[in-house]
């Protein structure tokens, strides 16, 4: 016996979640298994489609317009522009707290490093911070959150030529939080408007924070702070601070661990639950049975191999960082199904000498047919009932192109939709 479903998705990132969601919404009985908790909390929470061409041209105004000119091996070419649009619609329906769906054009969102990222969707919490808005900005960093140096980010934005005045100020977050307090600690304190001690007096944290930011304000219409403004009640926290300050407050997306990523993760899992799908995390898929067709896979729990079987499978285990693609001195492999990962035989051809050179490894991943089914070295389908989605796919460099989320959503959607069609 085995734990059964019609569709089994392996991987709990954006690709896996979108895939499971697409299949479940199409009526399939879906289960998602993920080695660990979703890695979405590593992500900034911004959802890009395409910011730059593979040649580095950009920032692109309209990502959709650029897709037909991408190389044929690019995952966007595999699924096609209309599927990318359908996939983004599914995302928009599922995550109403995101903005940017009113246009095809990229938005320009300031990052915590003071760069400007072209992105298709952004959390509502970042909306007041867009670089295309000409209202003046105060960036308020917190002394203890060293990942965001507000004066530095402001200077960076000024030199990027943003159409507004921007200043950065570093303030002390009110209360005696430890120097390395977790982002969840700040969020929880703000969510509950808990008391903090300021000058020997207990004050509600939102009041105390408002006072400190207010002192730095000099007529700016909007204030950006690191993305720690609440978790469960993020919108309420932001609005409350905005009302008290009389300005628009926005969050600057941060590096990991990221609350906007965490909120997106929560929302997507909630949607998956609503769609009737099953999911579990904590243990890896390590092996499979089958030849040409996957009969079942094994999840390893402390030595025990738990069988899971399905008719259709989706591989969404991530790329080199997510460990869905692995490399050693011998070569590059996909560890779960041992799908072929094309790569030069000589590992000195995998990279360039310059740190930011055009490294080949960045685009390592499985190659697929039109239906996203991984191909073996001879160009034949590895397994008739396995589709791949997200950064386990090769043929694109998401970090350089700013296309990571978009490819995950588009290929996840396509894989889930097609798998559901087979089992229907």
């Amino acid at each position: 016996m085995a734990i059964e479903s019609a569709v089994l998705v392996v991987g709990g990132g954006l690709a896996g979640l979108t895939s499971a969601l697409a299949a479940a919404r199409a009526g399939a009985d879906v289960r998602l298994v993920s080695y660990k908790q979703s890695t979405l909390r590593h992500a900034s929470g911004l959802v890009d489609v395409l910011g730059y061409t593979p040649d580095g041209d950009g920032p692109l105004r309209d990502p959709y317009e650029a897709i037909p000119d991408l190389p044929l091996t690019h995952p966007y070419r595999t699924v096609g522009v209309s599927t990318v649009r359908d996939a983004m619609s599914l995302f928009d329906e599922t995550v109403p707290t995101y903005r940017g769906d009113h246009t095809d054009l990229n938005a320009l969102v300031p990052t915590h490093g003071g760069t400007i990222k072209p992105t298709a969707r952004y959390p509502a919490s970042a909306a007041a911070g867009l670089a295309s808005d000409d209202r003046d900005v105060l960036l308020a960093g917190f002394e203890s959150l060293v990942d965001f140096d507000a004066p530095h980010a402001a200077a960076h934005l000024r030199s990027a030529g943003v159409p507004f005045r921007v200043r950065g100020a570093t303030i002390r977050f009110p209360g005696d939080l430890r120097a390395d307090a977790k982002v969840t600690r700040y969020a929880r304190l703000l969510d509950t408007d808990g008391d903090v001690t300021v000058d020997g007096r207990d004050r509600p944290v939102r009041t105390a924070l408002t006072e400190r930011v207010e002192r730095e304000l000099d007529g700016e219409a909007r204030v950006g702070v690191p993305a720690i403004l609440g978790d469960d009640h993020a919108a309420a926290v932001r609005e409350d601070l905005g009302e008290r300050l009389g300005v628009d407050v926005f969050e600057v997306p941060m590096g990991p661990p990221s609350l906007p990523g965490l909120r997106l993760e929560d929302r997507l899992f909630e949607a998956l639950d609503d769609a009737g799908a099953s999911f579990e995390t904590g243990n890896p898929v390590v092996d499979y049975d089958g030849d040409g067709r996957i009969e079942r896979v094994f999840v390893e729990k402390n030595g025990a191999r738990i069988p899971f079987s399905a008719e259709e499978y989706v591989l969404a285990t991530g790329g080199l960082v997510g460990k869905g693609v692995e490399s050693n001195r011998e070569g590059v492999t996909e560890p779960v199904f041992d799908c072929h990962v094309p790569h030069p035989a000589d590992r000195y051809d995998w990279f360039e000498d310059e740190a930011f050179g055009d490294h080949e490894f960045a685009a390592f991943g499985v190659g697929t047919d039109d239906g996203l089914r991984p191909l073996d070295p001879d160009g034949n389908v590895e397994f008739e009932n396995l589709r791949a989605a997200g950064s386990v796919l090769g043929g694109y460099d998401f970090a350089a192109e700013k296309s990571g989320s978009g490819v995950s959503i588009a290929t996840g959607y396509a894989a889930g939709r097609d798998a559901a069609e087979v089992v229907a």
């Binding site: 009737g276 729990k301 000498d353």
Partner: protein, 467 residues
């Protein structure tokens, strides 16, 4: 990893004096000789785990203590960072904040690099208690008494009615709080007037179970000599406090044609790990592994109804102890509902069943932290989704806050309740006014915070499947 493999026989080893050395042509590994940084020891090697940590801090965002406690440095410090400090300084003393870690083990499930955080915490805590905590201190003895709950429960079970009265007798509790640091805010759980094993003996023990299992197989049309045998690890709580959970397990498993045996067993060790009483835990582990591994050899699987017990046998035992047979036992241990999901068509049987409201119509379900690493936090909600007559609502992903003995300590009571606040709030908003969880101490906390009665999923499964 091949990076650390021994060099081949032709390794020259001397690259620095090689005149052809060119930094742009990196050492290809042929002449690489790994340096043994730490001498061999019998301890479990935590180095690869510490090295795998790339400091993303995801573990910290999962720590329920760090979310409410401004003095707690979080799992990344307690695990890999503190481990490194210990290697570089012989006099390094384990930071006393290790005792504020509640051993919820959520950080394990969070780490994208597979760093064995809880193993590191357990090891550091064991060292702290062993080497730094005074064996004459009230804290040590308080913790030891709490950790050895099984011993107190065994005595209490001999005189359950008297114990129930005495343990919640106001002046005595006041004195326990003041003198021992055991909070008087909580009510001690009631001891059953008949323990699970007393009941089990009356049912004819293993022989009785074999007979009933065979009858069930005949009824189900299964082969009568099917190889369906399990060894039940009931743990202390089903034994002394909630024997109804153990009874439900027996009835559900016999319904599916399983022969149940109940081997000799001690405590799983969960409360001992959490208090750094590793030697106590080991003593119990030896008993459990010894009896379970004999049965595993005979083809039995070990089944626990408490997710912390199954977690201990599966993960903490092989991570902390080197006892013969321990890996086999870990590999063959399962949580009770999980095992049926794997081996039986549980989903369909539940879908075709219905329950009347003898337990409740609606349940507010809380997934214990220890269920998470085992991938079981969604199990009950997903299984009962299709059960007619009962609604199960997940009350969210927060920790209940009690973490076994943690919330029983006077100085940690407030923190424990602050962690639990989110769960209480969600339970309050859920439609059901009966709780459900697999973990006995989460159940205690749920009851304490809301006044709800709390059931185990096996009890609902029994109501649905066993007539």
């Amino acid at each position: 990893m091949s990076d650390t493999e021994s060099p081949g026989p032709d390794a020259s080893g001397d690259t620095e004096s090689d005149p052809s050395f060119d930094p742009a042509e990196p050492n290809t590994g042929d002449s690489f000789e790994p340096v043994d940084v730490f001498p061999d020891s019998d301890d479990f090697d935590l180095r690869p785990g510490a090295d795998s940590c790339y400091k993303c801090s995801t573990c910290d965002t999962n720590c329920p203590v760090a979310e409410v406690d401004d003095d707690f440095p979080g799992p990344k410090f307690q695990g890999p960072e503190q481990w490194r400090l210990k290697q570089t300084d012989d006099d390094y003393e384990v930071d006393d904040s290790i005792m504020d870690c509640s051993n919820c083990m959520r950080c394990d499930n969070a780490c994208p690099s597979g760093v064995p955080l809880s193993q590191m915490h357990n090891t550091a805590r064991g060292q702290y208690v062993d080497e730094q905590m005074s064996k004459l201190s009230v804290e040590y003895w308080r913790n030891r008494i709490l950790a050895n709950y099984r011993t107190s429960a065994w005595f209490a079970s001999k005189v359950p009615r008297l114990a129930n009265f005495a343990m919640n007798f106001g002046p005595a509790r006041w004195a326990m709080d003041k003198a021992m640091g055991i909070t008087d805010e909580r009510e001690f759980p009631a001891f059953a007037t008949e323990t699970f094993t007393e009941w089990w003996a009356k049912q004819g023990g293993a022989a009785g179970s074999r007979e009933r299992a065979r009858e069930a197989r005949e009824r189900r049309g299964d082969p009568v000599d099917a190889d369906k045998q399990i060894a039940y690890f009931h743990g202390c709580y089903s034994e002394y406090n909630t024997p109804e959970v153990g009874k439900a397990l027996v009835r559900v498993y016999e319904h599916f044609g399983y022969e149940v045996v109940v081997p000799d067993q001690g405590c799983s060790g969960t409360p001992m790990f959490a208090n750094g009483m590793v030697d106590d835990a080991r003593r119990h582990a030896e008993v459990n592994v010894s009896s379970m591994s004999d049965l595993v050899d005979e083809g039995y699987d070990a089944i626990a109804s408490c997710t912390s017990c199954s977690m201990a046998l599966r993960q903490e035992y092989p991570e902390l102890f080197d006892i013969e047979g321990i890996d086999d036992v870990a590999t063959h241990t399962f949580e009770s509902v999980e095992y049926l999901r794997i081996h039986e068509d549980l989903v369909d049987e539940v879908r075709e069943a219905e329950v009347d409201d003898e337990l409740a119509e609606e349940f507010a379900y809380h997934a214990p932290c220890h269920a998470r690493n085992q991938g079981l936090d969604r199990q009950a909600v997903e299984l009962f989704r299709d059960l007619d007559g009962a609604e199960i609502e997940d009350v969210g992903e927060s920790c209940s806050g009690i973490s076994g003995t943690y919330g029983w300590k006077s100085e940690k009571y407030e923190k424990s309740m602050a962690i639990g606040e989110e769960m209480f709030d969600h339970m309050d908003h859920a439609a059901g006014e009966t709780g459900m969880t697999e973990c006995p101490t989460c159940a205690m906390q749920m009851e304490h915070g809301t006044g709800y009665e709390v059931r185990h999923p096996l009890e609902l499964l029994e109501a649905a499947l066993v007539e």
